[in-house]
Amino acid sequence: MVRFFVIFLVLLAALFALELTPWAQTHLVIPWTNFLAKVSTAIVTMFDSSVIAEGKVIRSSAGNGFAVSIEAGCNGVEATIVLLAAMLAFPAPWKYRFIGLAIGFVAVQGLNVVRIISLFYLGQWNYTVFEWAHLYVWQALIMLDVLVVWLLWVRRVPPPGDRGAPPPSAPPALAAG
């Protein structure tokens, strides 16, 4: 367990430092954030056609002109990095890591889209509630999501002596490390 957490924290710091590099920002983070704004807007326009995306900004083109900008911490990149570090640090076959990360990425980013859309409407309704949800509540919920995804993934990882066997339904590896 101690070994797992040491590796996890080292990987976390390294991946986060990598994310902050200009190259990663230009080629990964900013395009992803813009894409996220487009996806969120596409979903919202199904029931609210006045919403448009401009880069990382989601804006209401009618009424109050309210807009939210998807900044660092709100694009789900950090949450994905946490999940990636946790899956890489835990002893598991690479196949399980790839599958876990793919499913986990969808789970984290899916909830993050819900966060973005909810904040867009909360901000138009009540700014105090928006601030609360933005700064505290959604941060906790996204981390809870990451924790649950990781626990579900750990359940599926075969124990070290059982590698090569089909995915078990029991979670044998929680005590590893």
């Binding site: 976390l12 660092a72 950090e78 941060q139 906790a140 924790l147 626990l151 579900l152 078990p168």
Partner: protein, 202 residues
Amino acid sequence: MTGVAARPPRPLLRFVLITLAWLPVTFTVWYVLAPAILMPAELLIRGIARGFLPDLVRAIDSHDSVLSFVTTLRPGSAQAGGELTVDVNMLLYAFGLPLFVALTLAARQRPLWRPLLIGYVALMPFIAWGVIADFLKNIAITAPPLVASQAGFGAGARDMIAFAYQFGALILPAVVPAVAWVLTHRPFLEQLRGAWSARGAR
């Protein structure tokens, strides 16, 4: 009448639902009692400022959960009068506390006070990290050049402050409570594993 074997309850789903039910309660208590709950972090911040930043911080005032760092820096040129104050909201770095408490209450691992105490103590230094890094970022990076130059940080130090701030703001407040919870709940996780095994054996 034919009997259908009932499936055992989904332990993780139950745990998540109970956690979600606790979150409004823990967030409310956390917000209302924040000045008292965050007192250890505030004392730690005051100690760090006194011990390591005496040339930059003259005093720290607190109101509600906001710490006002009264600096030795001048708002404009070094010769101009006035003093520069930087406000930092401690809650921004402490939202992991209600999450940790909700997870702990949902796990119901006995004795309850033990993980609560360990988690509470473990989170305080990281809250202090976030607040101090926020203050340093304000005076070294986001302040106007005339102020930043008075702070006297070199390029390397500014890079370190920027990383410490980003890590302390975007990663630590959410990750530390989850790590603390996993570390203090090995018995619960084993119990979860047992329940999963029972479900899988059906």
